[in-house]
Subunit: 303 residues, 2 copies
C-alpha cells in the first residue's frame, strides 16, 4: 500500500493556495520525494507525516521552481534528528547546484549522497522503491520518474513443509536469504511463488509530450503529468517554453493506458484549472486536477 501526496502543484512562482512543485510517496514508513519547490515544507507540515524519513529526493531538473525549497527542507530534516544519509537523484550538474544552495544549510547532521543520472541509470533501489528515469524535452536537461514498488510472490507453506524447512527459517527465505540446514541448501525460489504485480507511479512535468513516455509509463496506477495550460489555444506558448497542455498530457495518459491522471504544474496565469478539466477528460476520462495537499492511497492489485 502506497501513500501519495502532491505537496505543490504550481509552476514558476508560488502563489496563495498553490505552492511550487513537489510530490511525496510513503511506503512502509519511508519517504521518497520528487522535486522540492519553494513552500514544499509548508504542505508537508500540514500533512503531518513528518520529515525525518525522507530517504531520497529526486529532482526532475534544476529550474528554481523545482528545487528552491531544498535548503530549507534539508535544515528541517536536520532539526528532526536525522543522521542517516539522504540520497538525491537528478540530472548531471545536480551536485554543484545542491552544493551552492547549501551555502545556507552548511552544517547538516547527515550526508547528502548525489546520484547524477547517466545513460546507464537504471533500476535504482531506494528502500522498497525501484526508480527509473526518462529524458524529457525541455529547455534544460530534465527527467521524468517512474517509481515502482515490486511485490514478491507468495510463500508456499505446503512446499516448505514438504521440504522439511524448519519454521524459523521461513522468514529468512522470504527475505531472499539462502539457508543451509543439515548440509542441505534452501533457496528462496524453492518456496516463493512468482513475483506478483506491484504498484507503478509516473511523474513527468516540464516537457513537450514524447512518444517515449507512452511505453515508459505504460499501465501506471497513477500518472502525474503537466498541465501548464488548460486552453488548447495556448499550445504555441507550451511549445515555445517546452511544456505540455491538459490535452497533450491527457493524450499521453490515454495512450499509455494509465489508470488515473493527476494534472499538475499549472502556470500562474491558469487561475481556474477547473474550467478546463473537461478538455482533458474528453480525451482521458479518468483525469483529476492536482492541488496542494491532494493525497491518495494505492493498494497492491488484487490477484
Amino acid at each position: 500500500m502506497l501513500d501519495v501526496a502532491l505537496l505543490g502543484c504550481g509552476g514558476m512562482m508560488p502563489i496563495p493556495g498553490r505552492f511550487l512543485t513537489s510530490l511525496l510517496l510513503r511506503l512502509n514508513g519511508r519517504f521518497l520525494m520528487i522535486d522540492c519547490g519553494e513552500c514544499t515544507q509548508v504542505t508537508l507540515k500540514m500533512l503531518g507525516w513528518g520529515v525525518k524519513n525522507i530517504d531520497c529526493i529526486c529532482i526532475t531538473h534544476v529550474h528554481a521552481d523545482h528545487i528552491s525549497g531544498l535548503p530549507g527542507l534539508l535544515l528541517t530534516i536536520g532539526n528532526s534528528g536525522r543522521v542517516e544519509p539522504l540520497k538525491m537523484i537528478g540530472p548531471k550538474g545536480l551536485r554543484e547546484v545542491v552544493k551552492s544552495l547549501c551555502v545556507i544549510a552548511p552544517e547538516l547532521p547527515f550526508d547528502v549522497e548525489i546520484i547524477e543520472i547517466t545513460d546507464d541509470t537504471k533500476d535504482i533501489k531506494i528502500n522498497d522503491f525501484k526508480v527509473n528515469v526518462l529524458k524529457g524535452n525541455h529547455n534544460i536537461l530534465c527527467y521524468g520518474y517512474k517509481i515502482e514498488v515490486p511485490r514478491k510472490g507468495k510463500f508456499d507453506v505446503k512446499k516448505a513443509k514438504t521440504l522439511n524447512i524448519p519454521v524459523n527459517y521461513w522468514s529468512l527465505l522470504q527475505n531472499e536469504e539462502t539457508i543451509t540446514h543439515d548440509g542441505q541448501n534452501y533457496t528462496p525460489d524453492m518456496v516463493m511463488g512468482e513475483e506478483r504485480p506491484g504498484i507503478k507511479i509516473g511523474y513527468m512535468t516540464d516537457t513537450r509530450p514524447l512518444e517515449t513516455m507512452i511505453e515508459f509509463f505504460k499501465d501506471s496506477d497513477l500518472f502525474i503529468g503537466e498541465g501548464i495550460y488548460g486552453d488548447d489555444e495556448k499550445i504555441h506558448k507550451a511549445k515555445e517554453y517546452h511544456h505540455s497542455t491538459f490535452s497533450e498530457t491527457a493524450t499521453i495518459a490515454k495512450n499509455a493506458n494509465v489508470k488515473k491522471l493527476w494534472l499538475t504544474h499549472y502556470s500562474p496565469s491558469l487561475t481556474e484549472p477547473e474550467e478546463y478539466l473537461h478538455v482533458a477528460q474528453e480525451i482521458f476520462q479518468n483525469t483529476e486536477l492536482g492541488f496542494d495537499g491532494k493525497t491518495t492511497i494505492i493498494p497492491f492489485p488484487e490477484i
Copy 2:
C-alpha cells in the same frame, strides 16, 4: 506616508499560516524589503502591491530563514520586466551567499548590486529612504536596520516672492538645486524651512537584547522586534540560541520610547502567540502581535 507590510513572521521553518521572516516598506511607489525567507513572495502576491519596484533588499544575516526566498523572488522580479539594478545590503559575506543561491536564478535581466556592511556604513540612501544598521548579538554576524524617511522643510512662498525668484524655479529649489538667474545665485536654504520630523522604522531580530538598541531605535514610529518565545521561562533557550523573548523586546521598546511594537520571528514551537501578548503588554502597552500580511500606514507627524 509610508506603507508597512509584514510578509512573514516565522522563524526557523515556514509553517501553515506563518511564512518565514520578511518586511516590506513602500514609499512613493518604491519598495524596500528587509529579509526574504521562504514563501515571502506568496504573501507579496496576496498583498497585490507588485514586485517590480523592489529597489533594495536588506538582509539581517545569512541564516536560511532570512534569505531562502531570495532566488525565487529575484526570478519573479525578473519576470515582472525589471531591468534597473536592485541593491542588496547585508553582512560581510553576503555577496558570496547571493552568488551561490543564484545558481538557480542564473539569467536575471537586472544587476544585483551588493553593499556589504562595514564599520563605516552610515546613512545609505535608497530612493527617499535613509538606511542605518546596528550590529546584533547572534551566533553569526547579524544586523538590525533603522529606516528613516527624512522630510524637508516647507517652501517659504513669501520669501521666494520677496527675493523675486521666478515661479518656474521654485520646484528646482525644492529639489535641492541651486539656480542662477540674472547673475544672481539662489540656493535652497534661502527659501526652504527647517527639516521637519520624518518617519522612523526599526527592525531587529535574531539578537540578544542590547543596550545599544535603545539609542539606535529611540522614538521610532514602529519597532518590529523579535518574539522568539512568549513564555519567560524559556529565557535560557533564548540565551542559548541568541534570540529575544517577548518580555525582552518589550523592554527595549519601552526604553527606546518607540510609538508601537510589533512582535515577529516566532519559534515554530510558539503555536499561540496570543497567549503571551499580555506578557509584553505589561511591560510595553503598545505592543501588537505581528502576523503574515499585517499592514499599517504611517503618516508624517503633524506639526
